[in-house]
């Protein structure tokens, strides 16, 4: 069978095949040892490129992100270098610049660095959410549950204790101790999957004995989920005019301009 060069985007890190060639990139690459190349290194890197290489690597990085994004994983710079750029790490800044422009122009996605220390990136949707479509109409039923929890946290002023979240869900007949037919293991979904996807934060409350945890909005939620929208969703849920929650209403509508949420100016 023809062993064509494959895009590394199709491989997850767990099963990525080890490079067999002699020019294999160091396997133990991580953030500590990776420093940005100097501008002269970048220039040298660009000069040594074959024509079309920059485009090729950009396409590979884009595919790598899209595969990871299907599971909404955050992506580490070290992994991009290790799995995609390999020995051509010098062109990293230019490739990322082009990849970000491609995501914006072609996919309506915004590439966001959520942690500068660890160089973690996520893709967020930069298309304006449709005013007509309520969040609950999403095709994924888990999104509905997520919105309930985000809404609850928002109503509680930004953080909600774990036991409050569980008891609220019980009122909606979702018991975290039982396997739910649509959501599966709800506890795992909230404390692991949504946390890994950066929709939620699940943090230990200091000085608690026995140990207690609380939920907050994760960075992806801050970017992707509009607070006025969450508030009107809560209004529908409780059949109440959102304006009656004056404090939350004020916050939702004043912070909507200061949140990192992408601006609608696209034309």
């Amino acid at each position: 069978m023809a062993q064509r060069k494959r895009l590394s985007g199709a491989q997850t890190s767990s099963q990525a095949k080890r490079p067999s060639g002699s020019q294999a990139a160091p396997e133990d690459e991580d953030d500590q040892t990776f420093t940005l190349p100097s501008s002269s290194q970048v220039l040298r890197g660009m000069e040594s490129l074959a024509p079309g290489q920059l485009e090729q690597k950009t396409a590979e990085v884009v595919q790598y992100f899209l595969v990871k994004d299907q599971k909404k994983f955050a992506i580490r710079r070290a992994d991009i270098v290790k799995h995609v750029l390999k020995e051509q790490r010098n062109i990293y800044p230019e490739v990322m610049r082009r990849a970000a422009a491609t995501f914006q122009q072609v996919f309506g996605l915004k590439l966001v660095e959520i942690e500068q220390k660890n160089h973690l990136y996520i893709l967020i949707n930069s298309l304006e959410p449709s005013a007509a479509a309520p969040p609950s109409s999403s095709t994924n039923p888990k999104t509905g549950l997520l919105f309930v929890v985000l809404g609850l946290i928002f109503m509680k002023g930004g953080v909600a204790r774990e036991n409050v979240v569980w008891s609220t869900l019980k009122k909606l007949r979702i018991d975290p101790r039982e396997k739910h037919e649509e959501f599966g293991d709800v506890r795992k979904l909230l404390t692991e999957e949504f946390v890994r996807q950066r929709y939620l934060e699940y943090i230990r409350i200091p000085h608690t004995d026995p140990v207690e945890f609380e939920f907050g909005w994760g960075q992806r939620a801050e970017y992707e989920v509009s607070k006025p929208r969450i508030l009107s969703f809560m209004g529908e849920l409780h059949q109440q005019d959102p304006q009656t929650w004056s404090q939350q209403y004020r916050e939702a509508h004043s912070s909507s301009s200061s949140t990192p949420s992408p601006s609608p100016s696209q034309r």
């Binding site: 023809a2 895009l7 396409a59 595919q63 996919f107 007509a132 479509a133």
Partner: protein, 248 residues
């Protein structure tokens, strides 16, 4: 032809395709309309293909494409978002382990070398014996087949497996390269013919998809092979002309 500019309606369409992977023509038309309405761009219902061409022109340098093809099951057109850089089943390697991919390849072999484009679950289970990678147990094989159906690589009907529309469209170059000698084209639509009827005349033996048979012989009193003019001995299947357009 003048190329349209990529706008938010295109991006919304592409985002939806990334989530669903495959959509029939009727569904694509509905999605096209919804995307245009949502972003308040002008919607020309008859311009779906040029709308998709605009997206494809941007996807091409990224080795991606929204490709059109026909379903062997219902004869309808489908659109599939495909990766054009991967030539074989390695495109699935982010979701499947190596031994699972080996079994999928073997299943493709079985289906493509069969007369009728089908493989029974028993045949698939039997070919685990010849696996070179870690052998799959019976229960693992059954679960894998379920996943392959769920991910729309295979279709299942009463214990018989066929290549899905998505698989045929997306793997087209791979099938063409790997099974050159085995695959025949449909005499009517000139696409690969897996599930089909075959002319009984041994000197002819052309293949025609079931939906193409239905369309071609519709209303003919005595069906004859379009290639050798022998009597066409098979039952002429019936297919609804179009999918209901009321679906939203």
């Amino acid at each position: 032809m003048s190329q349209q500019r990529m706008e938010d309606s295109h991006r919304r369409f592409l985002q939806a395709m990334m989530t669903i992977g495959v959509i029939d023509r009727q569904g694509a038309k509905t999605l096209h309309r919804r995307c245009c309405e949502e972003h308040k761009t002008q919607h020309s219902p008859d311009r779906l293909d040029s709308f998709i061409d605009t997206i494809n022109s941007k996807l091409q340098p990224l080795f991606m494409q929204i490709r059109k093809g026909m379903s062997e099951d219902d004869g309808n057109q489908y659109y599939v978002l495909v990766n054009t850089a991967e030539t074989d089943v390695t495109r699935m390697s982010s979701d499947y382990a190596d031994n699972e991919l080996e079994l999928f390849r073997k299943t493709m072999d079985l289906i493509i070398s069969s007369e009728n484009g089908k493989a029974s679950s028993t045949d698939i289970l039997n070919c685990t014996d010849t696996m070179t990678s870690k052998k799959l147990k019976k229960i693992e094989t059954e679960q894998l087949l379920k996943r392959l159906v769920c991910d729309k690589w295979l279709s299942e009907n009463q214990g018989e497996y066929t290549l899905s529309t998505r698989c045929i469209i997306e793997m087209e170059p791979y099938i063409r390269a790997m099974y050159q000698d085995q695959v025949k084209m449909c005499h009517i639509c000139h696409n690969f013919a897996f599930q089909c009827q075959i002319c009984d005349n041994p000197a002819c033996g052309i293949k025609i998809h079931n939906p193409c048979v239905a369309r071609y012989f519709k209303g003919r009193v005595e069906p004859r092979c379009p290639a050798c003019d022998d009597f066409w001995p098979h039952e002429i299947p019936e297919f609804p002309q179009h999918q209901s357009s009321s679906k939203r």
